[in-house]
Each structure stands twice: as C-alpha cells, then as structure tokens.
C-alpha cells in the first residue's frame, strides 16, 4: 500500500434529539486510514454511521452539534493538514464517567473555520458521489457544461474550448453513449444510470486526491447497478484514485474494495483486507461481520429454499448505546469467559494480523 492519504482518529459526530433530550451518537469514535490508490469499502446497516462519517470528512454536517471531536489528517499536495484543526476551541464538552453529557458549541465560529479549511479542498482535492445522481446535477444546466465548469474551476485548464474538450473526454471515459450528443442534454433527458455516469465524470474531472462514493449504486436498477460497478472497477484500474466507498451492499464492496471497514452503531468493528474480512471461511472475524455475511442469501440458501440466517434483535439505538460492546445484545458468540467484559466495557480495535483489526473481547490479548 502507498503512503497514507487520510487518517481519521476517534472521530465523534453527535446530533441532538430535542424530543429525547439526548445525543444521537451517529459517529462515536471512528478510527480509519486510507492509503493512496486504495479503495476502502465501508459497510454497515443503515444508521451505523457510514454516511455521517463521509459528511464529517467533507465538512457538510448541517444539524448540531455535529462533529465534536477527533482528528482527520489529510495528506495532499505534499503537506499534512488536519481538517478539524483548531476546531476544538469552539466546543465545550462535559463528561460524566467517560460519557459526554453536555456539549456547547460556538456554531457560527465553527462553521466559519470549517469553511476556511474546506473551501479550497471540497470538489477539488476531495470529490463526492452521492446516492441520488439526479439531485447532484443542476437541472437547469447542460450536463457537459457542468463538467466543464468543474474543470475550469479546479484544474489548470482554464480556456473554455480546452475545458470543453476535456469534459467531452470525461464523458467518453465514463462510457456515456454518443457523448457529443449527451454533452448538450439537460439532466432530465438522461436515465438514472447515465446521470450517475455524468456525476462520476464530474467528480473525477477535478482530478481529486480522494473520492468519496456514498452508495453510488443504490436506487439504480439491477442491470444498471452492475454496469456502474463495472465502470468503477475499470476506472479504479485505470486511474487508481483513493476511494472511500460506502455501501450497504456487500457484493459491491467485495468487488471493488481493497480494504474493508465494518461499521456498527457508530463505530468500526473490524477493519482489514477485503479478502480476509469478507471471505466466508477466513476464521478470525468479528461476530457481527460473520452474522452480516451469513444473512445474505447464499447460493446454497437459494437452491435449497432454506431459511436465511438471522441476526436476532435490532440495530442499537444511537441515543442509548450500550456501555459495553455495541453488538453484545445480538452476539451469538459470547462465551462465559468474556461475558462480563462484553457487557461492561467496550473492547478496543485490536490488531490480530498485519493490517487486520477487530473490536472484540474474543480476540483481545
């Protein structure tokens, strides 16, 4: 793997529920790293904090209190920059035995500072592909022009004609059919799959150091999904841009990711090489990963018309996360030896093999 590009350390992003008078701990101590050229897949069920992690990196958290702690080190253009640098002083946290019970934040000051840090990076060094491609395009501007604009804003190509040529080239690279024709189309004239291709072209046109793809195939038809996944795989081989790929579809992740982070209840439960984490038979695994993989209909399931393996219970409430392991209540691998620890204390992410870390007492030293 190449040099680190992005290092997230104990990121915490909370929201406040007025009706429950409590914090929603959407992201609660996420630690992740992404190297140059690497595709890191983030899997997890809804509410596990995948998207909020992505929004925290891009400084796009709207509701309060938002990001309240941690560091996001971004290594680009030769230097290192903490995207959350000096933001700590806008936040006041009050803790009672390790739990944050009160946060006061100078929202306006924080916002201003975030914009100062992020404005030069967003859309240039860091691009995002969102889930709904139609919403990501301006409905009143021709598709080609939207890409041209990105190129003129964020790349050294400033001339109108040269930028247009480059935009057209991007439409070709994302394999939009008859790109010259599509260049002048408005987004409504494009199908969902074509819109997503245009959005991908737009995200890549600024030649970013980091691409964040948040559920890039969700909501598209199955046939289109496989095409977009195929396109992303080709672009990965061709350009090799560092990508944070967020999806709840494990099949998409396993096709594209080099490394995988499994999120649950706002925290990373397992992080390691995709081949090991998602392989059916690789032994050391977080019990949640095992259960998650088992609940996908396997070919065996489908053929035998057998029962699907179920994870009993429900995803934990982000307002009232358990004090011990977040997965303890649903875990089917708890042994008497670790039970007390599971219920009482949260395990740390423990390295069990080079580059493979698991947050589980079963693997703790």
């Amino acid at each position: 793997m190449g040099a680190p590009l992005l290092e997230i350390e104990s990121l915490r992003t909370y929201f406040y529920s007025r009706s429950k008078r409590a914090f929603i701990r959407a992201v609660d101590g996420v630690t992740l790293a992404l190297a140059r050229g690497e595709t890191l897949g983030v899997v997890g069920e809804s509410g596990s904090g995948k998207s909020v992690t992505a929004l925290s990196i891009t400084g796009l958290i709207g509701a309060g209190p938002g990001v309240i702690g941690g560091t996001i080190a971004f290594h680009a253009d030769g230097g290192e920059q903490n995207l959350l640098a000096d933001l700590e002083r806008y936040v006041d946290r009050k803790e009672v035995d390790g739990r944050i019970v009160e946060v006061s934040k100078d929202e306006a000051g924080w916002r201003r500072k975030v914009e100062r840090i992020m404005a030069p990076l967003r859309g240039k060094a860091i691009s995002v592909i969102f889930q709904n491609p139609k919403a990501a395009l301006n409905p009143f501007v021709r598709v080609g022009e939207q890409i041209t604009e990105v190129i003129r804003l964020h790349t050294p190509t400033k001339g109108a004609r040269a930028a247009r040529e480059q935009a057209l080239d991007w439409l070709r690279r994302v394999k939009i059919d008859s790109p010259r024709l599509r260049f002048d189309n408005y987004p409504y004239g494009l199908s969902g799959g074509m819109c997503q291709r245009a959005v991908i072209a737009m995200a890549l046109a600024s030649e970013p150091a980091l691409l964040i793809a948040d559920e890039p195939t969700t909501g598209l038809d199955a046939t289109i999904q496989s095409e977009i996944v195929g396109l992303l795989a080709e672009l990965k081989a061709e350009i090799g841009i560092a990508t944070l790929l967020i999806s709840h579809d494990i099949r998409v992740i396993s096709r594209l990711a080099d490394n995988v982070a499994v999120m649950y209840g706002g925290s990373v439960m397992e992080h390691g090489p995709a081949a090991d984490v998602l392989a059916a038979r690789f032994a050391p695994k977080h019990p949640y990963t095992t259960a998650l993989l088992a609940s996908i209909p396997s070919e065996q399931n489908v053929r035998d018309k057998g029962y699907l393996t179920v994870i009993e219970g429900e995803v934990p409430d982000a307002v009232d996360l358990p004090r011990g392991c977040r997965f303890y209540a649903r875990c089917n691998r708890v042994t008497d030896g670790v039970r007390d620890r599971c219920a009482q204390r949260e395990p740390a992410l423990q390295e069990i093999a080079p580059g493979h870390r698991i947050r589980c007492w079963l693997y703790a030293e």
Binding site: E45, S46, D177, S191, G193, D221, A222, T223, I224, Q225, S226, E227, V229, G230, H248, I250, R251, V252, S254, R255, A291, L292, S295, I296, P297, N301, V302, R303, K305, Y307, L308, T309, V310, I311, E314, V315
Partner: protein, 337 residues
C-alpha cells in the same frame, strides 16, 4: 390439486397522460400502457415472484389486481369471483381476503396511531368484535409476526424498519388475508432485518396457507421465496416458469441479462456454459414512441446477433407467451437454448 386463488386474463392498465391543457383542446390523448395485456394465475399456498426493472409495471399489476385502481380492460378472477368490475359493496367482503404489503414502510402506517390502535383498526374493519376478543386477537397477531408486547403502545416513529414491516404484515393478517400482494417488502430493510422478514413471510405461508404475489427487484430473494417467477418488461410478461428454471435457465434474452447482471455484480466468473450476454444500448424506454413487434428488440442482443430479423419489429407479430412445457412460457421469437 390446489385451487387457483387468482386468475388474471389479458389485464391492461393504461394511464392517461396529461400533456398540458392544450392537448384536451386538440382532442388528442396519449396513454401510457403501464400494464399491457398480462395473463397469469396463482394457486393457493403458492408464491409468484414478479421481477423487472423499475417502471415496468410491477406495482401497477399489484394495485390493479386488488382493485386499488380500476383496470382498463381484461379480467381479474379472485377466488372464483370476477372482481374486474364488481360494485364496491359486493367487493367489500372479498377485500378482507386480499391485502397488500406496501413498499413504503412509513406511508403505510398512520404516524399518530399507536401499534395497539393500528392493529385494532384492522381487526375491527371487517369483523365486529368485543374488547376481549380484540385483545385476544391482538395477542395472537403479535405472536404470529414475532413482535414484542411492549411495542403495543409505541408510535410508528418509535419503531425500527423491521418492526414497522411486522406491524404492516400483522395488519394484513388481522383482516383475514389469504392472498397478499407483497410490494418490495424487503427493499427498504437492512440485510439482517431482510432475512427476518423473508423467514417470517415463509413461516406464515406454511402456517396459514397464504398465497403471495411477491414483487421485488432483488432476484436472489425472489428466487428464494417464489415457486414461480414472472419476468416483466415494459408492461408485458416476457417469461414465466418455475423459479429455479427462470433463474438458472431463462430462455428470454432479457431474463438472462437480468440474472447475468447479478452474477457480474458479485464479481464472480461468468459461467462458461452460458456466456454473459453482451448488452445493446441501454436506455429508458420511451413510451411515446410507438412499439412495433417485440418491445425488447431495441435492447436485445439476440436481435442484433440475428441480423435484425423483420419478425421482431413487425407490428403484426408481437411475440406471445409460448408454452415450452413444465409450466415454462416465453414470449420471444428466438428463445435462447
């Protein structure tokens, strides 16, 4: 021999397209053929899976069968009664036996009603029962859908996706449904919860002898739960047959493409026996352009490979479902081997 609970003959549902006020002046109307001549039947205790891309008319079929929207033409026979044009009063007692599980979890439950009242409403809609009987039936339903008693006083907003889905299923059972149109019952759910709901639906079928029209775009789930599968393309059924035959040995090019897309997404090696289909230009079907012959021809790789035979685009020879034996029907002039 099990009875046929539902028979649909040449069902059509056209939506009128409003093309601005001027179009009415010009005395010209345009129709969108959402469902265009669909026939199938469903036996008791059986599940028919309905697959196809978005916009192909899957949900419209479900809604039309249940008379949530009137059919343009064709015939719907439910449990021996022709309900196509049955007056509402006569239809009402039959309605209790046919229900729908709606795709949108949140829109299906009144956000201001507690679970207890949501169930009570469903129980008492078709049956006049005393309080004690309602309470007994409520308890029974909770047990059937595996929902905790403590959830009775919750509002839908306080429930998780899986729990909302269970309440929805309980409501269909509460009225005494025998036939359920399940419209994407798992698509809004996470995989771990999806498995719970799929298992539940199959358990209920076994215990209560329910019949399902299972609409989904998740091919694996469809193959798993369905006895038979119908593949839809632009308002028509292009292939229908036993689930495993359709999944493993579909004869229609579109069926093959659907399933090979699944294999591709998994990143598995395409099977050598059946090479993955190469696709023609994918685009959105334009309902405004008149179709001649086979609707799939513009996207069909076989049509291209055969050198664009005229029979595929001849308006007089639109392919009809042909019997291949063993309940397997395909609508294609050049079915794959």
């Amino acid at each position: 021999m099990t009875r046929t609970i539902l028979e649909v003959v040449n069902l059509k549902k056209y939506y009128r397209q409003r093309a601005g006020i001027l179009s009415t002046l010009r005395w010209r109307e345009r129709f969108i053929p959402a469902v265009d001549g669909v026939s199938f039947y469903l036996k008791e205790h059986e599940t028919l899976g309905l697959v196809g891309e978005s916009g192909c008319g899957k949900t419209t079929i479900g809604r039309t069968i249940l008379r949530l929207t009137p059919a343009t033409s064709g015939r719907i026979v439910f449990d021996g009664h022709d309900i196509t044009a049955m007056p509402a009063g006569e239809l009402r007692p039959l309605r209790s036996r046919m229900q729908m599980i709606f795709q949108d979890l949140d829109a299906a439950l009144n956000p201001r009603m507690r679970v207890r009242d949501l169930l009570k409403e469903a129980i008492t809609t078709h049956h006049r029962l005393g309080d004690a009987e309602v309470a007994r039936r409520t308890g029974e339903l909770l047990e059937q859908v595996n929902l905790k008693k403590s959830k009775l006083s919750s509002l839908p907003g306080e429930l998780s996706g899986g729990e909302k889905r269970r309440v929805g299923i309980a409501r269909t059972l509460a009225v005494g449904a025998r036939f359920i149109v399940a419209d994407e019952p798992t698509s809004a759910l996470d995989v771990s919860i999806q498995a719970q709901v799929v298992n539940l639906l199959r358990d209920l079928q076994r215990q209560l002898g329910l019949s399902y029209l299972f609409i989904s775009h998740d091919l694996e789930v469809v193959q798993l739960v369905s006895h038979k599968v119908a593949v839809m393309y632009l308002g028509k059924i292009v292939e229908v047959g036993l689930a495993d035959r359709i999944a493993g040995a579909g004869r229609h090019p579109y069926t093959r493409i659907l399933w090979s897309a699944l294999v591709e997404k998994k990143g598995a090696e395409p099977s050598r026996r059946r090479p993955a289909m190469s696709r023609g230009a994918w685009g959105v079907f334009d309902f405004e352009q008149p179709v001649h012959g086979c609707r799939f021809a513009p996207r069909c790789p076989v049509y291209e490979a055969q050198g664009r035979p005229a029979v595929c685009t001849d308006a007089a020879t639109e392919p009809e479902l042909r019997d291949l034996g063993g309940g397997h029907h395909v609508a294609c002039h050049f079915p794959l081997g």
